[in-house]
Symmetry: C2
Subunit: 336 residues, 2 copies
């Protein structure tokens, strides 16, 4: 069984009404206004084994906060379960988790520490509904809604590919931003192609994503909005939103927001920029649907990429051609 | 840093007021009445690698529910983070977690699945304060209070030692109770000493502990009670309760509730029964302090083992002798 099949089984057997499982966080009964989510970061699966524990801690918080952003929940509390090998600098990871949570007004309230090799960290986050806000759900889209992306896609997977090619993030003194060492040949190649800065940005985007809490709050205060975060790739996450809302979508390849210099970056990685953007994953921007005419404020830098349609299939329009889009995203449980 | 030192550092830096960290679960702000806790089960650390995934799932739920029992919280929700190797029967574990939660009226509401070797499972449990109940805290004991144990101690670690000597729990068809295979020489030895049944009970106690939710509810409805669950050994957990309440304790060795045939079982393991009872851990019974004269109903099978005293030291009284008791429990992060 892969993750999708397991979750489908779990939904049928545990939650036939679809009340709990299926959004990025679980909503506790309405009156209370709490949402909960849990996400892993595993050494060797989600990040290189020798990554600075502070960077691991910040990434762990970021991916979890992104789930709260996708559901319109204000971060409130978190609990950390950390299993780490002997000699691991758990304190550095804990301090980073604590600092990152404080930045968004949340508190670390509990945890469990144990020994394991490799390092496995899981964070449970607890969020609260915004005053006068609504939960954001995947199933709230309607035909005719405009589909938006809260930021660029494809950059995170490019960063991961550079890391796989040997870019090594190192501890930085400040702990705020990871620094890098490049294999000399790779650095020379990137420098000659003027790609050192875009590659560094891609790696930072991969290691230190920014959950879109501000945009999430704006969306939670709309009369109606559907949302999901791009964790497993635009194609798969768009399919999830469409399936939950029982509709289809048409998106325009020319409108997909890509990072600066992305064509050249993808070419240096021998990848298609469109495939990176559609299938890459771990971008942690929001994909959301709004009724036509509702425009997100410019400060959230959102881009309209298409619209929801009644027919339950997902279509990519490229150069006037209509291409059926499969859910070829990244299934953590199969490929990770 | 060991777990205790890390938690002490975390308490100082994250939670100087002691509001969040220090009990078995974290209490969210008073008006809401929620308690949260997280606990790991790691293959090779907490249980044998080839243990039936259903048994792993039930143990994972039990140790977490014990934290809710220790704080007087009624189990409500849980989230599972599971990192498992390829081919692992995750569905069997999930089904067991779900069934065990339903038995106590709680629901699995979310999760995250990923690949890792070995299997690391962490469960976050969310509990609610009982109507008209109080949270149970470690810091509520007062000098003169009677100290009680909600069940026997020492049996779980004896079970672990038998497992280390080769007793292999196997999948059972019903999934309710693990069955065993013994190395032939060990089975012969146990049979000749008439210890097969007590050893089997000890292993079941270790693998499938019973969280004391009924006793917890009774305690939560008292005017004042302090409680902790025995996860790291009576000595260490008693020290924790005393430290939190800023007092000491005197306990009577002759009154410690030990399992049937425990002297003979310990002797077959070449262990002192008293040391197993004091230092073993993972018994998951409640240690609690009640004002003198408050007697727990007989159905909870609790035993008075001593009392709280003003002087901040912990003393074991054995054969009329007063022996200072150190906190020589099991620190997960150092020894596990």
């Amino acid at each position: 069984l892969n993750e999708a099949q397991l979750l489908a089984w779990l939904r049928r057997s545990v939650d036939p009404t679809g009340r709990w499982i299926g959004d990025d966080a679980a909503f506790l009964p309405a009156g209370d206004g709490w949402a909960l989510s849990v996400d892993h970061q595993i050494a060797g699966t989600h990040y290189p084994v020798d990554l600075d524990p502070a960077t691991v801690g910040r990434r762990l918080v970021a991916v979890n906060l992104s789930d709260l952003a996708a559901t319109g929940a204000r971060p409130a509390y978190a609990l950390l379960a950390l299993a780490a090998p002997a000699g691991y600098d758990a304190q550095r990871l804990l301090a980073a988790v604590d600092a990152q949570l404080r930045e968004v007004g949340a508190r670390l309230v509990g945890g469990d520490l144990a020994r394991a090799q490799p390092c496995v960290a899981s964070l449970t986050v607890v969020g609260r509904r915004y005053p006068r806000g609504r939960w954001l759900r995947r199933d709230a889209a309607q035909p005719g809604d405009v589909l938006w992306l809260g930021g660029t896609v494809g950059e995170s997977v490019a960063g991961r590919l550079w890391i796989e090619r040997g870019a090594l993030p190192r501890k930085s003194a400040t702990g705020r931003q990871p620094r890098f060492e490049w294999p000399p040949a790779l650095e020379l190649e990137l420098r000659s192609r003027r790609l050192l800065a875009p590659a560094r940005r891609a790696i930072l985007r991969h290691l230190a994503p920014t959950p879109q809490l501000g945009l999430s709050r704006w969306l939670a205060l709309r009369p109606r909005a559907a949302a999901i975060d791009i964790s497993d790739g635009l194609a798969l996450d768009l399919h999830r939103l469409c399936r939950a809302s029982r509709l289809g979508a048409e998106i325009d390849a020319a409108r997909l927001p890509l990072p600066r210099s992305f064509d050249r970056l993808a070419s240096a990685l021998r990848q298609s920029p469109l495939e990176l953007a559609l299938g890459g994953g771990e971008d942690y921007v929001l994909l959301f649907a709004l009724p036509e005419g509702q425009l997100p404020p410019p400060r959230w830098r959102s881009t309209a990429i298409g619209r929801c349609v009644r027919q339950e299939s997902v279509v990519l329009i490229r150069d006037g051609e209509r291409i059926p889009l499969t859910a070829s995203g990244w299934d953590h449980f199969v490929e990770a």
